[in-house]
């Protein structure tokens, strides 16, 4: 059966793509963010995943409000990035893993997570930037991928308790796949930030650090909160941290921290990085 080697949660911000394109990794503004990644790359080199299941949210590249799925999964041989309208470079295509996608679809629907299935799916910066951070400059990306998109745009959003259970179902789906593949689960987004309204620029460092700690020791802690609670505590876009929670759920049992980094600000966002492996 396939093996989950661990999980990595990380912030996605479009401007990270521009910083990479302009080689600003050691610029004083960006250094505290980019310096978080070498230990994660070393861990990846050690655990050697073949496949990445990437849990993220689309920002209006593949999905619009005409059809807005709560949970969607890619089932394509290849995923293309495309122009998102804000001038960040478009990255080359990513290889899919169609057999795992369909196995996951069967397993998730059997577990009553009724997925929207996508045989064509554009992937935006929330998918591409984390892969670019973990495997910098490697085109094509050395892992095959399965994208899973969670609605964080139009409310109602799936509540934290539901996301955690969704993640557990993802974990069981991967581990029941008849393959010797090694799989890393990636969750992207957050941490606290708010782009819109008079409260723009809102950041909650105390909550973010607690969330990162609890994700290791007691992930059910965050399921006490409603989505509205999370908006209040972390901002309108901070709520993207449900993708981190989903990825943590997929790791099933106990986990240990491999590496963590937290830095404020990247653009208007509190940036976080958390690499975990099963114990």
């Amino acid at each position: 059966m396939a093996k989950i080697v661990g999980g990595i949660n990380v912030t996605h911000v479009p401007y990270i793509g521009r910083a990479i394109a302009n080689n600003l990794q050691q610029d004083p503004y960006w250094k505290p963010f980019f310096d978080g990644f070498p230990p994660v790359r070393q861990w990846l080199a050690k655990v050697k995943p073949d496949i990445a299941v990437v849990i993220y949210n689309d920002h209006g590249l593949n999905f619009f409000l005409d059809k807005m799925p709560t949970f969607a999964i890619g089932a394509a041989a290849e995923y293309n990035n495309a122009d998102e309208g804000w001038g960040i470079p478009t990255l080359p295509p990513y290889q899919g893993e169609v057999d795992l996608s369909w196995h996951m679809i069967d397993s998730l629907v059997e577990e009553e997570f009724d997925m929207v299935t996508c045989q064509e799916m554009l992937v935006d910066h929330a998918f591409t930037i984390p892969l670019e951070l973990f495997w910098p400059g490697q085109h094509p990306c050395p892992v095959r991928t399965v994208p899973i998109c969670v609605n964080t745009v139009q409310f109602p959003l799936p509540k934290p308790a539901r996301c955690f259970k969704f993640g557990q179902a993802i974990g069981r789906a991967i581990e029941s796949w008849d393959s010797d593949a090694r799989v890393v689960v990636i969750g992207t987004g957050g941490l606290s930030h708010q782009l819109d309204g008079q409260r723009a620029g809102f950041i909650n460092k105390e909550f973010d650090l607690m969330f990162m700690e609890k994700l290791i020791s007691d992930p059910l802690w965050v399921t006490r909160y409603s989505i509205t609670d999370l908006v209040e505590l972390t901002g309108t876009q901070g709520v993207e941290l449900i993708n981190w929670l989903t990825a943590r759920g997929a790791l099933l049992g106990e986990v240990a921290k491999v590496h963590a980094n937290y830095h404020v600000p990247i653009s208007n966002t509190a940036s976080g990085l958390l690499c975990m492996e099963a114990v």
Binding site: Y15, H59, G60, L61, F64, L65, D66, A82, D83, E84, G85, W86, G87, V153, Q154, F155, P156, Q194, L195, D196, G197, Q198, R199, A200, G201, F202, I203, K205, T228, V231, E232, G235, T236, Q237, H263, V264, P265, S267, N268, A270
Partner: protein, 117 residues
């Protein structure tokens, strides 16, 4: 469960729920079209005609043409889509944040740095 449900107010914050999504559909759809370079150029060519093509109401059109983010939010805009309109004019998230909070860009950036301490 009905549209008369109680909503919890968070100061300075709009929850982009069904009511807002219905109100803002035309504006957001126009912004979504700006994924295409051709459409971005067409907007710059004739902004008003482009707004009309997407069926924006007067409130949405005025807000979009003035690039006032709080007005666009009040007209049902969503931050993720509005960012594509802002991108046409080279506005970054600190420009947008400063505008909405009535601060200078430098003060807004300083506020973000302060939040990390």
């Amino acid at each position: 469960m009905n549209t008369g449900r109680q909503k919890r107010a968070i100061p300075g914050t709009t929850i982009f729920d069904g009511d807002v999504a219905r109100k803002g559909y035309a504006l957001n759809k126009m912004c979504f079209s700006f994924n295409s370079a051709e459409n971005r150029a067409a907007y710059l060519e004739d902004k008003e005609a482009y707004c009309d093509k997407y069926g924006l109401n007067e409130q949405q059109k005025k807000a979009a043409l003035s690039l006032q983010v709080l007005d666009m939010l009040a007209a049902g805009g969503n931050a993720y889509y509005l960012a594509k309109l802002g991108g046409i004019f080279g506005l970054d998230m600190q420009d947008v944040g400063a505008q909405q909070t009535g601060m200078t860009k430098e003060a807004f950036k300083a506020k973000l740095v302060e939040a990390g301490k």
